[in-house]
């Protein structure tokens, strides 16, 4: 199938080149695209599975952790409303608790939360880049384009 698409792109490029001007300019990137499409692995999704595994494991673990905490356990709309009201109540109680209390402790807590989010975000971003690179390499047989 990739050959058909590539052939079409090549034909389109040749046709565009005959028009001159802008068409001629568009011909070269179209030929490049045709070459790129020819490099795509015919087994496509099957070869892309392997590099996905560590990323899928991390994402699955994150969602499972939350599920184990019972966050999404609420089933019906009434349960959801109860959960929202209960959470609002908890937040209100938490706010009430902080009235006249140590603002520094709150700030420390926020800093710790931000640091945790930053660290987790960095790890997941690295995993995402690695997985995306793996899938790209498996599909095309080449390195992903660099920035700039």
């Amino acid at each position: 199938m990739s050959d058909t698409v590539a052939d079409r792109l090549d034909r389109l490029a040749d046709e565009a080149a005959t028009h001159g001007g802008l068409g001629e300019k568009a011909a070269e990137p179209l030929h490049e695209d045709a070459t790129f499409v020819r490099t795509l692995h015919p087994a496509g999704p099957r070869v892309a599975v392997k590099p996905l595994l560590p990323f899928a494991a991390a994402v699955g673990a994150a969602f499972l952790l939350q599920r184990l905490r019972g966050e999404d356990a609420a089933r019906g709309p009434a349960d959801r409303v109860r959960a929202v009201v209960a959470r609002a109540g908890e937040e209100l109680a938490e706010r009430a608790w902080t009235v006249g209390r140590d603002a520094r402790a709150e700030a420390r807590k926020r800093r710790a939360w931000n640091a945790l989010q930053g660290a987790t975000g960095a790890v997941f971003t690295l995993l995402a880049r690695r997985a995306a690179t793996g899938v790209y390499e498996a599909l095309t047989g080449g390195d992903p384009p660099r920035r700039g």
Partner: protein
Amino acid sequence: MLRKLAWAGLFSAFGAVATMASQRASAAVWRLATGEEPPERG
């Protein structure tokens, strides 16, 4: 051009999933570590 588009799409998709998952993971770790809900934004 297609190469760059394909890479950008792939990385964006993985990035979006990673952002969601990382948010959930850090909230879960926070709850496990402190027994409290994570602080609100703002």
